[in-house]
């Protein structure tokens, strides 16, 4: 049995999802030889620290009732720097302008020789190369499956399962909010504004939906794929982005009459990173509805491989984080 000491930095929906999943899978982890101890949980208001292992269910219920995880006045960065542990689970909110606190956290983790598993897109979309370099020179492992497509295992599929293949292109639907809105506009023959309001009511869209509906979120995910899989040195600014706000119900009907659906498609291949609404033939593997995500990977040996799955949700994203943790320590 190997004891792995982890910190959870950021205790919003994803961080809490990770705590729930770790509780639920504690026995399973022990069965495969991993004794995972969370030694610190930090949110924006404070921290809970216990080098013997934080009581996760107590932390979750404290967060629910008090809105904060702990009373200790110490930041994530301080935890990463001062408390000895193996892996930083970085789930702070994303910032695509600067990479934000997430970027500092990750760099500090590598500086102290810790591994990083994250769901935080911003730092990777802005500074992938710096992060990868810092991880390499520290001998740390850097895993970020949860940043692209939530539970849909796209990065590990390409880097592990399809190893040896040359990747020609990846295209797909990488934002569940846009997919939901377009699917519902089609079903209800309703306007973008109406279906955005519905998505907000159901919690599929943020109060400020810009990040999703203007294609920014999908663009960040493409940048991560471009850097991690195609070895590019791209940032968000290199993406040609068109969102879904101008799509009319009439255009969806015209498309349907000719056997198409309209989807917000992200694509990355040599010299091209683009997010734009596209016509997808009905019945095509990329024509999935609702909040689903989907990605088609074009390879030289395996041909085209398409996967679909839930692109968001706290437990789904935590699933990707858990699988990254297991892949690092199950040896």
């Amino acid at each position: 049995m190997k004891t792995i000491r982890a910190s959870i930095i950021g205790f919003g929906a994803v961080g809490q999802g990770v705590a729930k999943v770790l509780l639920q899978k504690a026995d399973y982890l022990k069965d495969i030889g991993i004794d995972l101890k969370v030694i610190a949980i930090v949110d924006s208001q404070g921290a809970e620290i216990d080098t013997e292992g934080v009581d996760l269910s107590a932390a979750l219920s404290r967060k629910r009732t008090d809105g904060r995880v702990g009373l200790e006045n110490i930041t994530g960065l301080e935890v990463i720097r001062t408390i000895d542990h193996d892996v930083v689970i970085e789930t702070t909110p994303t910032n695509i302008e600067t990479g934000g606190v997430g970027l500092e956290n990750m760099l500090a983790a590598f500086e102290h020789g810790r591994d990083v598993v994250t769901s935080n897109k911003g730092p990777l979309a802005m500074k992938y190369r710096d992060l990868a370099k810092a991880a390499r020179s520290a001998g740390s492992t850097f895993r970020f499956e949860a940043t692209v497509g939530g539970a849909m295992p796209i990065i590990n599929l390409i880097t592990d399962v399809l190893a040896g293949n040359k990747i020609i292109s990846v295209e797909g639907i990488l934002n569940g909010t846009c997919n939901y809105i377009l699917t519902r506009m089609m079903e209800e023959r309703a306007s973008y504004e109406q279906m955005l309001a519905e998505a907000q009511e159901l919690g599929f869209a943020e109060t400020d939906p810009t990040y999703d509906v203007e294609g920014i979120d999908a663009a960040c995910k493409l940048v991560i794929l471009a850097n991690a899989i195609f070895g590019m040195d791209a940032t968000y600014k290199d993406v040609d982005v068109t969102g879904i706000t101008k799509i009319t119900p009439e255009s969806l009907i015209l498309a349907e009459d000719s056997g198409y659906v309209i989807k917000l498609i992200g694509e990355v291949k040599k010299d091209l990173i683009r997010v734009a609404p596209k016509l997808v033939p009905n019945g095509h593997p990329l024509a999935v509805g609702g909040t689903l995500n989907v990605a088609s990977v074009q390879t030289d040996l395996a041909g085209t491989v398409t996967i679909t799955g839930r692109g968001a949700g706290s437990i789904e994203t935590a699933s990707a984080i858990l699988s990254d943790i297991i892949s690092i320590y199950k040896k």
Partner: protein
């Protein structure tokens, strides 16, 4: 250019080879051969439809060589438009002169707008259009789409193209 040709062959061995030789000798690229063995013509010949790509200046030579070798050429037609694409436009399509948008594609000489469905909900709202464009070849189709994109950018129209896998 791509040519579709109906020829008629005698029902004896070796005739098909006789018919295809002149095409390959004149550097034509055979696309398809459909042999209608079951339908004899009234004169007892077998109709065959051949499609091939060839340089325009060599076509007459193919026809005369075929006729010299006793192959009946019943019909020669040019297949002008080989590539098709459908796109959607959204915006003030009519008010930005829809005729001009179409003309600019048609004037290329290698591509044409062959179908258009327009949906105009209310006068101040953006309209939506479904456009089908035919072109003489893959490259020309790509050029026509880039042209349409620049027209769309100029007129502030959103253009929605099919996914790449659909194009190839």
């Amino acid at each position: 250019m791509r040519v579709s040709m109906d020829i008629e062959l005698k029902d004896v061995p070796g005739q098909l080879l006789l018919a295809l030789n002149p095409i390959s000798e004149l550097k034509g690229n055979l696309i398809s051969v459909v042999h209608h063995h079951e339908n004899h013509t009234p004169r007892g010949l077998i109709p065959v439809q051949v499609v091939f790509d060839i340089k325009q200046e060599n076509l007459d030579a193919v026809i005369s060589r075929l006729e010299e070798s006793g192959v009946e050429v019943a019909r020669v037609g040019e297949e002008r438009f080989l590539e098709h694409i459908a796109v959607i436009l959204i915006g003030h399509i009519v008010h930005t002169d829809i005729q001009d948008t179409i003309d600019r594609i048609d004037r290329t000489g290698y591509a044409e707008v062959v179908d258009l469905s327009l949906s105009m909900p209310r006068i101040e709202n953006p309209s939506s259009a479904y456009l089908k464009i035919d072109a003489v070849g893959k490259k020309e189709l790509k050029d026509a789409i880039s042209l349409l994109k620049s027209v769309a950018a100029e007129k502030d129209l959103l253009i929605i193209e099919p996914i790449e896998t659909e194009l190839t």
